[in-house]
């Protein structure tokens, strides 16, 4: 059998696969992986059913770059927000989830030897995708402002000097994620302006992962970097129907950008997947049509969803605080991270002292307490992992699990009171 190169051993260790398996094995309450435990809203489920029972063309191939009703509605909806006339056929590519949109963007825009700046903590797929495109990942971390007593994701900031120092003649792009996974930070206009200034000055592209764009809390406002002056022609904005309509299993996403960038992504798409599923696209098209009419209205799902999750988020934070943990209140997104450095537990695990502390803690939490979370250093580069290994990530987009979480966390608290420090 022919030998396969090292390149193909890219990211064979996936944290997700490992932790999901462990959570299943120990039947843990899963607050790790990011998906809702409730169904998508009725109007979009109805749209999907309508599509399924529609004419035979609903079950056959549609336009490869995006089902016409969907790209039309996306263009209409987002033109209003971005303040730019988006061409449905030229400026949009529909993909199999935002994940495939990211893949097309990196493949199309990153050449061999290019450097790509990734802001940490980052959704873990960015790094292997940069590598697969022949590029090199360069990292710059968000850092908590020292001395703040009320912990919020807004206290984590990007240093302009540190970011500028990472730019070289080989830098092709900067990747940002706002609202951020796992931290929940929602970049403010000034922060985006700082990044935009650097992109313009150094002629860089910006890949902006905005899948959680509708999930902002406490008055935080999501701002699209593509809407800043000089940024439309150099920004690739990624969105997700899964996160927008609480239907992660539908795997419908999109890229919106200037046509001259989209056309390269279309080539990648055409030679890898070519078409996305028709019926799901039809349903999402209806979803956006409805939301276009409802925009700004209290009936809008884009208002109702964050309002519902606002409470979940508060509840989880209180629970964690009552245990003596320090949650960092996210301004947006699906997740909350918690500082676990004050926890004194004997992890009972001498075999893996190489592994970061949070990895070991998460495994212990799954096995001993039946609670699954994700270690935050998984979202950091190898060079910065040790600095950020005292946080774990919870997903609070859960309606049904919250009660059992409280119980197991209280149990944990009780047990912890009886532990010897390690």
């Amino acid at each position: 059998i022919p030998k396969l190169s090292i390149k193909k051993q890219l990211d064979t260790m996936s944290y997700w696969v490992e932790f999901t398996q462990l959570a299943a094995d120990y039947k843990a309450v899963n607050l790790g992986q990011g998906f809702p435990d409730f169904s998508p809203p009725q109007f979009i489920q109805d749209a999907f059913c309508k599509a399924i029972s529609g004419g035979p063309q609903m079950h056959q191939y549609t336009r490869g770059f995006g089902h016409p009703p969907l790209v039309k509605n996306l263009a209409k909806f987002f033109s209003r927000i971005v303040g730019h006339d988006i061409d449905p056929l030229e400026d949009i590519l529909v993909t199999v989830g935002a994940y495939q949109a990211l893949f097309c963007a990196f493949q199309a825009l990153v050449d061999e030897g290019d450097e790509v700046i990734i802001v940490e903590p980052f959704f873990d797929c960015y790094q292997p995708m940069v590598v697969m495109a022949g590029g090199k990942a360069v990292y710059v971390p968000l850092r908590p402002v020292k001395g703040s007593t009320v912990l919020s994701s807004g206290d984590w900031i990007l240093s302009a000097e540190e970011l500028a120092s990472k730019i070289t003649s080989r830098t092709k792009a900067i990747v940002i994620n706002t609202p951020n996974n796992p931290l929940g930070k929602v970049y403010k206009t000034e922060e985006l302006q700082m990044i935009a200034d650097l992109c313009i000055r150094h002629n860089l592209l910006c890949i902006s992962d905005e899948v959680y764009e509708w999930l902002t809390y406490d008055g935080a406002k999501h701002v699209k970097i593509a809407s800043l002056p000089g940024m439309w022609e150099r920004t690739v904005t990624i969105g997700s129907a899964g996160k927008t309509f609480s239907a992660t299993g539908w795997k419908v996403g999109w890229v919106i950008s200037s046509g001259h960038l989209i056309k390269h992504m279309k080539t990648i798409h055409q030679n890898s997947i070519y078409h996305c599923a028709t019926a799901a696209q039809e349903a999402v098209a209806h979803g956006f049509e409805r939301e276009y009419e409802m925009f700004g209205n209290p009936e809008s799902y884009f208002k109702q969803l964050p309002a519902m999750l606002h409470h979940k988020r508060k509840k989880l934070a209180l629970c964690l605080q009552s245990m003596g943990l320090q949650p960092i209140m996210p301004e947006g997104g699906y997740f909350m991270i918690t500082d676990i450095s004050s926890v004194k537990v004997n992890l009972n695990d001498q075999s893996n002292t190489d592994e970061p502390f949070d990895f070991r803690f998460v495994k212990w939490l799954i096995k001993e307490k039946g609670l699954a979370t994700i270690p935050v250093s998984a979202f950091y580069s190898p060079e910065h992992r040790k600095e950020f290994d005292k946080y774990i990530r919870f997903c609070f987009v859960k309606v049904h699990s919250t009660l059992s979480v409280k119980d197991s966390l209280l149990q944990l608290l009780w047990k912890m009171g009886q532990r010897v420090t390690d």
């Binding site: 059998i1 051993q9 169904s39 399924i52 056959q60 191939y61 989830g97 697969m132 030679n271």
Partner: protein
Amino acid sequence: MSWKNVEYAVKLIVQVIMVAFTSLAADPSVVNLGQGFPDIPPPSYIKEGLAKAASEDRMNQYTRGFGHPSLVKALSQVYGKVYGRQIDPFKEILVTVGGYGSLFSTMQALVEEGDEVIIIEPFFDCYVPMVRMAGAKPVFIPLRLKPGKKTITSADWFLDPDELSSKFNSKTKAIIINTPNNPIGKIFTRDELQMIADLCIKHDTLCFSDEVYEWLVYKGHQHIKIATLPGMWDRTITISSAGKTFSVTGWKLGWSIGPEHLTKHLQTVMQNTLYTCATPLQEAVAQGLVLNYELMGQPECYFTSLAEELEVKRDRLATILQEAGMTPVIPEGGYFMLVDVTSLNLDLSHITDDEAYDYKFVKWMIKEKKLAAIPVTAFVGDESKKQFEKYIRFCFIKQDSTLEAAGNILKNWAKS
């Protein structure tokens, strides 16, 4: 990525075929026997299965990345029976976005920069850009027509053993085969597959077997999986499609089956490209497979009933074409039919575009006769264009009314 150097060629190959002809044929007054998708409905239970799946909370959220558990288990069951071996649902199967996605995952996973990949002409057009995207070089070998036959069938097209052998060298990483073949409809015989297998084993080459039309086999023929030949399981990836199996091309689900040591690389690619496929669609396909597994061997089984339905359409289209003075190539499998248009003696020399004859013919036919087909030189490399430029491809997985409409056009054509 090194493929960027040939981006122009990549775009040219794919765009010209599908994008250009799709828009030409999109005119509603055109009878479209071009692009390969059914205009007949899928079985009702498959649509109902999707509606039912979509109504369950959990089915609207992420499932297992390498394939929804109920689907990979159903695949393991169905194909375990077909292969006559135990297939591990978690280690030997990957669910992908259509057969297309399986081809992509396979090429990205197993083909390296500088490799050569043998492609048999005519070929499904995406093989070439995908091989190039992996940094490898496509090496072509044409199927050749046995001379002197009156009634032409796809079985009259064969691979010259010496010619095939000459294409293998130390750089050859894989050979791609497609059986039943698109566009010819050829089903490779056991002897032909054995010849390919012998060369794969001799040169330690992989085999990528595109079998998306595996159930569309007509009377008197049998689809054989090259992976079942001795020594081939360990070096073969077999690709299938829910879209072609259940007449739901718009669901875009497919799967790759192969040994763990190869499949695991495809799974890595999946993990780094789109991570997981849509859940409710996978659940519905799983149910469709389970239902038909129970019916296997019986006339109600969709795997056999669809082929019977299509055989009637195949024969109808062949008759229509023969009556119009054209020479159809009767396919042994699949849902396409090649037609030799030489005997029409259509003089297109007045069209000065630098295009092969079949491209000019098809464009002329769409415009003047309101009938769409696909030019076959779209499926071959440059050196074989002369050999195939008198052929066009028709798709016959169409309603009887569509075929009759084509029939009327062709009847009038014969008269004029």
